[in-house]
Amino acid sequence: MKETPLSNCERRFLLRAIEEKKRLDGRQTYDYRNIRISFGTDYGCCIVELGKTRVLGQVSCELVSPKLNRATEGILFFNLELSQMAAPAFEPGRQSDLLVKLNRLMERCLRNSKCIDTESLCVVAGEKVWQIRVDLHLLNHDGNIIDAASIAAIVALCHFRRPDVSVQGDEVTLYTPEERDPVPLSIHHMPICVSFAFFQQGTYLLVDPNEREERVMDGLLVIAMNKHREICTIQSSGGIMLLKDQVLRCSKIAGVKVAEITELILKALENDQKVRKEGGKFGFAESIANQRITAFKMEKAPIDTSDVEEKAEEIIAEAEPPSEVVSTPVLWTPGTAQIGEGVENSWGDLEDSEKEDDEGGGDQAIILDGIKMDTGVEVSDIGSQDSEEEEMIILEPDKNPKKIRTQTTSAKQEKAPSKKPVKRRKKKRAAN
């Protein structure tokens, strides 16, 4: 797939935000994203998360014959791969430019700085040496691959244990991990890359650029340093012109950041060591936290009920007490009784309302009371209609509908309440 293009609106927004010293995730100019280091069950396997960028590092070793011109040194092999799950734009065979650039930078940072003692990897001079292979896989691309990859490489190398070997005369014994504990590699120092992104021809500078920020940047400066403030590699790409004091300032910032990151790495290694020694659980299943997806549930946020009591008391204090409606059945004839008021006669409504419309009345709202029908009581009546004529009892609800006018009350409305029984009037006032 082709890379997702950057729209004009995003570019404009990002540049304006950078001019106002605001970053997308709320960081400051010199802030790194959260770094999380987690180790797998095998020695030499780790996952480094720099924000959402994730790199998996795995170290392995093998006994091979050495290079002809370096008979007493071990062999180091670095490989960084951009997995297809990292970004839609990464396809097998597609990302050659970026891949070559990253691999070259990793090699210069780790191999040329001589951070690993290759002499100690020699077993029998000229015949057998250890070949250490570091494989890095990018699992998710959210910017600044090189920093995350360099941290993953050095953490994996520090975490790795190679099988123990002993040489007695001509005999070489390779011990399995069960016979003798595996031995860590001898590492002199830990070089870590720090990236600086430049915008607007070098006017603005950001540390640890995000993927969006990388899209709009003019140039990138990568400084690889260790905690002793020794620069291992420095590279500037993008073709921007940097001033001397800008580069010096960046190196000072890099020194501070590398010190922090090195401390974090040492602490993570120590924690893992402790857990393994105590026999606790270790590995990715323990350290990588599960995140809940809440997108499939419509949870209702709970309503704030802290002041419900005061509000309820206020309402009760101001309102009138409800009317006491006692319904007693009214016996019309043996076998027919009426409980309640029954339904309003809506035909009567229409006739009256027509008259009032003719009179040119204003806005009116006719409210009918008593929606429920006393069906239970009436059915017995209907059933008897089929048979011979019996006495028919018609249950009469109150004929006069209630009318509420928005204009001044007229005589009609005042007449209506007076005709209704006492119960009805009280109810009406409460409704008002």
Binding site: C9, E20, D25, G26, A295, E299, A301
Partner: protein, 273 residues
């Protein structure tokens, strides 16, 4: 001895098809087969059980069940093609057996006809635009499918477009338009110049677009804003200042993993400041 043999045969054959009704709300994996309700009676408890043939041809109650995303018809059964939770919706008007679908989480968008999406114009060629919608191919958008289209008011390369798909299947290049069937824009067209575009998962978009979504109501009370949701996982948001826009973008992205309590806390804190 027939029963143990038949049980052994079933276990050899692999997982038996389960009734869809019993699996509702549970996680299903691709490759599972599900039985629809009327087939359960036919299958019976022990699988292929012999039944006496009924002489009166009872019209088998064929209910029309709709197969939603994540499911596919496989003979008489439903075959699961995505992993997620199985859901069912009862039919509203009473005809048919309702809809079954799988709620799955996904970030890559696959164009579907009728979806409203936000696209980025990548190229002009002939009299169509090529618009990137996040799928495997760029969609084509004709010059004339805007309301009031003239030579002057055309989108440029790099602009954001809100439109809907008229053709979207796996065999053809997707095509989109920015007018509805009556020829009116109805909110579609070029999206304004400022504002921020960001990407979220497809499940979150569906949740935000559900009717009565609380998140949107609460966000609307915070700041005045303009917001456009594309079903391809893209959201465009614009508020008065850059700071507010960034806050809104971060909140919407974080809603993926926040519970409603955490969200309420964040909103109350923002409302105070």
């Amino acid at each position: 001895m027939a029963e143990p043999a038949s049980v052994a045969a079933e276990s050899l054959a692999g997982s038996r098809a389960r009734a869809a009704r019993t699996v509702l709300g549970q996680v299903v994996l691709p490759g599972e087969e599900l039985l629809l309700p009327e087939q359960e009676d036919a299958e019976g408890p022990g699988g292929a059980v012999e039944r006496p043939l009924s002489l009166n041809a009872r019209a088998c109650s064929r209910v029309r069940v709709v197969c939603g995303p994540g499911l596919r018809r496989c003979g008489d059964r439903l075959l699961v093609t995505k992993c997620g939770r199985l859901r069912h919706k009862e039919p509203g008007s009473g005809s048919g057996g309702g809809v079954y679908w799988v709620d799955s989480q996904q970030k890559r968008y696959v164009p579907v006809k009728g979806d409203h999406v936000i696209g980025i114009v990548t190229a002009k060629s002939g009299d169509i635009f090529k618009v990137d919608v996040g799928g495997s191919e760029p969609a084509s958008l004709s010059y004339l499918s805007f309301e009031g289209a003239t030579k002057r008011n055309r989108p440029n390369v790099g602009d954001l477009i809100y439109g809907q798909f008229v053709v979207a299947n796996k065999d053809m290049e997707p095509e989109m338009v920015c007018i509805d069937s009556c020829g009116r824009a109805n909110g579609m067209g070029v999206i304004g110049q400022d504002g921020l575009l960001f990407k979220v998962t497809l499940g979150l978009i569906r949740k935000l677009l559900a009717p009565d979504c609380e998140i949107i109501q609460e966000v609307g009370k915070l700041y005045p804003l303009e917001i456009v949701f594309g079903m391809n996982g893209r959201i465009w948001v614009k508020a008065k200042t850059i700071q507010q826009t960034l806050i809104l973008a971060n909140i919407l992205e974080a809603c993926e993993h926040m519970t409603s309590d955490q969200r309420k806390q964040i909103f109350s804190r923002l409302a105070e400041s």
